[in-house]
């Protein structure tokens, strides 16, 4: 491979990541500054109206702009589709590694976000390779500012909403026996079987509680030394336990991405010696696109619920 060819490859690789970083910084700037400066209400309305018109989620458009930028620099290299594909793998891996090392982003969040970056970015590469083959390459480059405007507008459409995840299991034990392990339970020793735990997502280990009364301090302990501090807000023995999350750990997987509000265990006596245990968690997700990250949040939360609830089930059934 000649030096010029390498130079173009590296330029594409750098350009894609510079575009990605620039978009992210511009995004942060644009949406932090107007919030701190008192804008007249008319300007604000115009701003919000504009934001509503632009519906594109940033996580689709930023990778696409990155892919398009890379394709611009690779346009003269006569790449085959495989070469585009392989070089895009290399290019798209730089951003997550950069975010992990430079911005201390959570590895699991990056792993979850990577498929979006990769597929949308590759779509950008495919579009870019067709756009920039023609003699109108410079004109076609204007696609990037258009993507930028649409992307920046998306961020103002944030309307954080509270969501709830619910899981239930059947336990072959009466509610009174199950209740003994709901308020607090001894450590979980079995290895987690969720694949994200294998790549670094903390898993629940145990719970401690001051006592079975409203206002009691409760701690939910996760691996890696993470502790969720909770306070019991509602208690009805053998029926219901609700606790508010008063402090969540400053873990990069959670910070700025997810706020957990409340947890709840409900026990339903089935009158046949069995109990249905229901676990619920209320949370607000700050990531976009919501539909994508909410799917992951539900999956992760559900696995946390089920790990704890399976443990309660094993303890309750063993006692019999």
């Amino acid at each position: 491979m000649t030096g010029g060819r390498w130079l173009h490859i590296i330029l594409g690789l750098v350009a894609a990541n510079v575009v990605g970083v620039a978009f992210c910084f511009a995004f942060v700037l644009l949406f932090r500054v107007p919030d701190q400066v008192d804008l007249p209400s008319r300007a604000q309305q115009w701003f919000y109206g504009f934001a509503i018109m632009a519906i594109w989620p940033s996580l689709v458009l930023i990778p696409m702009a990155m892919g398009t930028a890379a394709a611009y620099f690779w346009r003269s290299l006569s790449f085959s589709l495989w070469e585009y594909f392989l070089w895009w793998i290399v290019t798209s891996l730089i951003s997550p590694f950069g975010a992990y090392f430079a911005f201390k982003e959570g590895a699991v969040c990056l792993l979850i976000g990577f498929p979006i970056l990769f597929v949308c970015g590759f779509a950008g590469v495919l579009v870019g390779r067709l756009l920039f083959k023609s003699k109108t390459a410079a004109i076609n480059l204007s696609v990037i500012p258009v993507l930028l405007i649409a992307t920046l507008a998306e961020g103002k459409m944030r309307q954080d909403q509270r969501h709830v995840v619910e899981d239930r299991i059947l336990i072959k034990a009466p509610a009174a026996d199950v209740w003994n392990y709901v308020v607090s339970f001894p450590s979980i020793h079995t290895a987690p079987n969720y694949w994200l735990n294998a790549v670094g997502l903390p898993s629940p280990l145990g719970t401690t509680c001051q006592g079975a009364f409203v206002g009691a301090a409760r701690e939910c302990i996760f691996s890696d030394g993470l502790v969720f501090k909770e306070r019991v807000s509602q208690i009805s023995p053998a029926r219901l336990l609700t606790f508010e999350i008063v402090e969540q750990p400053s873990n990069p997987e959670l910070l700025g991405h997810l706020t957990l509000h409340r947890g709840q265990f409900q026990l339903i006596e089935n009158n046949d010696g069995t109990t249905t245990l229901i676990g619920r968690s209320w949370y607000t997700l700050h990531m976009r696109p919501l539909w994508y990250f909410d799917w992951w949040t539900r999956d992760v939360t559900s696995h946390v619920h089920l790990r704890v609830m399976e443990h309660i089930k094993a303890l309750s059934e063993r006692k019999r």
Binding site: W56, V60, L81, F122, A123, L131
Partner: protein, 147 residues
């Protein structure tokens, strides 16, 4: 199967800009990973077509690569190797009857035909169909200009 479902049931989503390109990128990735001969055929076809005079490649509005003469579309190639060409109704009937092409996968009664590129062995036939489509489009353009 997924492609069939998407183009039949979720066609309305194609109105959302960029979404067809995203879907097509997914198809290309799947083809790359699971069907190398098809990918080779797609690349060979694309290169052969672009060697022809006046044929331009552009991103297609339904995803994939569109082949154009000026502003007139000759056809487009999806990321799974499905080639759609406009040959007019009379040619369509003839090509389909002779087993050279399939009725269009979404609009079977229209003047469009579909052809699956599965391996490099299909290139010859695909190029012959493309030439028919190109002739049809450019000739009908000329006729309409003269009229």
């Amino acid at each position: 199967m997924i492609f069939k479902f998407v183009v039949k049931k979720l066609r309305w989503l194609a109105r959302i800009p960029v979404l067809p390109q995203l879907f097509d990128a997914g198809l290309v990735i799947a083809t790359m990973l699971f069907d190398r001969p098809r990918l080779r055929a797609m690349e060979m076809f694309e290169n052969a077509v672009c060697r022809k005079d006046a044929i331009q490649r552009r991103p297609h509005r339904f995803g994939g690569i569109g082949f154009f003469v000026g502003t007139t579309e000759i056809g487009h190639l999806h990321g799974n190797g499905l080639l759609d060409l406009f040959v007019g109704k009379s040619f369509r009937t003839d090509q389909v009857r002779r087993g050279r092409a399939l009725p269009h996968h979404v609009f079977p009664e229209s003047g469009w035909i579909s052809f699956w590129l599965e391996s490099p062995a299909d290139i010859g036939q695909a190029l012959a169909l493309f030439e028919t489509a190109r002739m049809y489009r450019t000739t009908s353009q000329l006729i309409s200009r003269v009229r």
